[in-house]
Amino acid sequence: MAAFLARRLLGTPTSSSSALISASRAFSSSTTPIKATLFPGDGIGPEIAESVKQVFTAADVAIDWDEHYVSTEVDPRTNSFLTRESLQSVLDNKVGLKGPMATPIGKGHRSLNLTLRKELNLYANVRPCYSLPGYKTRYDDVDLITIRENTEGEYSGLEHQVSLFFSSLVKNLADYLSFDFVKVVKGVVESIKIITRKASMRVAEYAFLYAKTHGRKKVSAIHKANIMRKTDGLFLQCCDEVAEKYPEIEYEKVVIDNCCMMLVKNPTLFDVLVMPNLYGDIISDLCAGLVGGLGLTPSCNIGEDGIALAEAVHGSAPDIAGKNLANPTALLLSGVMMLRHLKLNKQAEQIHSAIINTIAEGKYRTADLGGTSTTTEFTKAICDHL
């Protein structure tokens, strides 16, 4: 426990938030292609990755894809099925796109998502959720972005059985020192939530910067500080501080239960939402549900030093893999997020419009959207719309 805390407080060196607008990307001409890592992933991953490559080529996007696959053996250097080379590739290229990855069952290795998050220090998960014209859900005018703190909070992984004579903190110390005399109470487990100023400030800074650079009007901090006074209180304090630096952006604090209620009754009440880990997890999926589900939701993970890893958050759908039935929309929209991060706004807008128009038109839709087109037909329709 003490070691864990020490690591958190001293941690990896933080670069200033100006690195978010990575200077190295400011001058990309169409003659020098940008290198980006691509993880096609498993199941339908390779097919939808192929769609992305086709659409990007058709839109003249100068990206050089550096493809990496999940290996079949655990790499001892990373303790995961992702090799050191794959991870280094993202660290070098600073930008990447990831398809769905199925974590192999079994022990003795870290989950793939956890590996990526820890190694690349991905601290914020950003998901824009907007209603797609032409694809009807119960909600028509959703236009919001969820920004979730992705490194700590309720998912810090500190769970244990409660001990009888000592508080759990002392028990962890006793474990660390290999003292064996502590008795454990059966049938009682405890979970610890950690909130640090560093992580909270980092995600709050990103949320307001995002709002400013994308022309958004309001940031809402979601919390349960009326109950979790110290932890969510600290998170709110950090959001308050950052809000003061952006007087032109409206700022509000909403309790998580109100937030859920407001979202399902009137999602237009929200613009940008910033949240700690657990609420972010639940709310970002809830918002995906409002607009049509994970198959249509783009997502981008932001890391230190301006790293951005866009990903499709749906599963690998092994039952339709290889059958040319998969919907590449989520991965394509995530690719668009990646382009915006690289400041290739013109092409991002082109591709985005093409996707929206194709779905709105309704002639070419994959099975999950209620249509009969194959992946290749859908992709071709998008290329034609460019």
């Binding site: 805390l5 958190r8 407080l9 859900t137 119960r138 909600y139 309720e154 998912y155 992984g157 769970e159 244990h160 059985q161 409660v162 759990s168 059966k186 049938g187 009682v188 487990v189 405890e190 979970s191 610890i192 939530k193 950690i194 909130i195 640090t196 100023r197 560093k198 109950i227 979790m228 006074r229 110290k230 932890t231 209180g233 600290l234 309790v255 998580i256 239960d257 109100n258 859920c260 209620m261 407001m262 979202l263 399902v264 009754k265 657990l278 609420y279 997890d281 639940i282 709310i283 970002s284 999926d285 809830l286 995906a288 549900g289 409002l290 049509g292 589900g293 994970l294």
Partner: protein, 214 residues
């Protein structure tokens, strides 16, 4: 959610979840018994055991054990983020949902919002010796002086909660009469408070309910 909390340098720690076998079993038993007595077909346990392996793992274990004693009731499990997504897209797939404390708060408010909001959802808090009935969801409806001054508060939630109380006290026919009257007033549509899109005052809705009592 328990209250042990401390500050250590710039870090805030909190023991935010204590799950015990005793409490998990207790709530699971209540959920299944409620489903059985109210002729509900399915109980869904909402959890995040893929991440909170020990805590929610213990909760799920308790639910599974109780489920075995009710073979006539379908039992399934769903992760809380997927649950919220399914609720907003296809709420009709759910019947009875049993959850630990934190997720229950979120899920209850989400479900209440989908069904009409804080103004219409009833609720009850049940203990071994006592029971207290109140609105099912509290979001946005607490401390709103303006609503009170303008007589726009929706009495439906509390009326339906009192019907639940009557049922608990084993006065089923009174409970039925009250519920039927309230539901008729809402479905008729010409007497609704602001939150349901109408312009009636609280008193007008109450009068309408009384008029509809058989």
């Amino acid at each position: 959610m328990r209250g042990l909390s401390m500050r250590l340098f710039l870090v805030s720690l909190r023991v935010f979840m204590v799950i015990t076998k005793f409490c998990s079993e207790r709530i699971a038993k209540y959920a299944f018994e409620y489903a059985y007595l109210n002729n509900r077909k399915k109980v869904t346990a909402v959890h995040k055991a893929n991440i909170m392996k020990l805590a929610d793992g213990l909760f799920l274990e308790s639910c599974r054990e109780v489920a075995k004693k009710y073979p006539g009731i379908t039992y399934n499990e769903i992760i809380v983020d997927n649950c919220c997504m399914q609720l907003v897209a296809k709420p009709e797939q759910f019947d009875v949902m049993v959850t630990p404390n934190l997720y229950g708060n979120l899920v209850a408010n989400t479900a209440a919002g989908i069904a009409g909001g804080t103004g219409v959802m009833p609720g009850g808090n049940v203990g071994a010796d006592h029971a207290v009935f109140e609105q099912g969801a509290s979001a946005g409806n607490v401390g709103k002086d303006k609503i009170v001054r303008e007589n726009k508060a929706n009495p439906v939630a509390l009326l339906l909660s009192s019907a639940m109380m009557l049922r608990h006290l084993q006065f089923p026919s009174f409970a039925d009469r009250l519920e039927t009257a309230v539901k008729r007033v809402i479905s008729e549509g010409n007497c609704r408070t602001k939150d349901l899109g109408g312009q009636s005052t609280t008193q007008q809705v109450v009068d309408a309910v009384i008029a509809n009592l058989e």
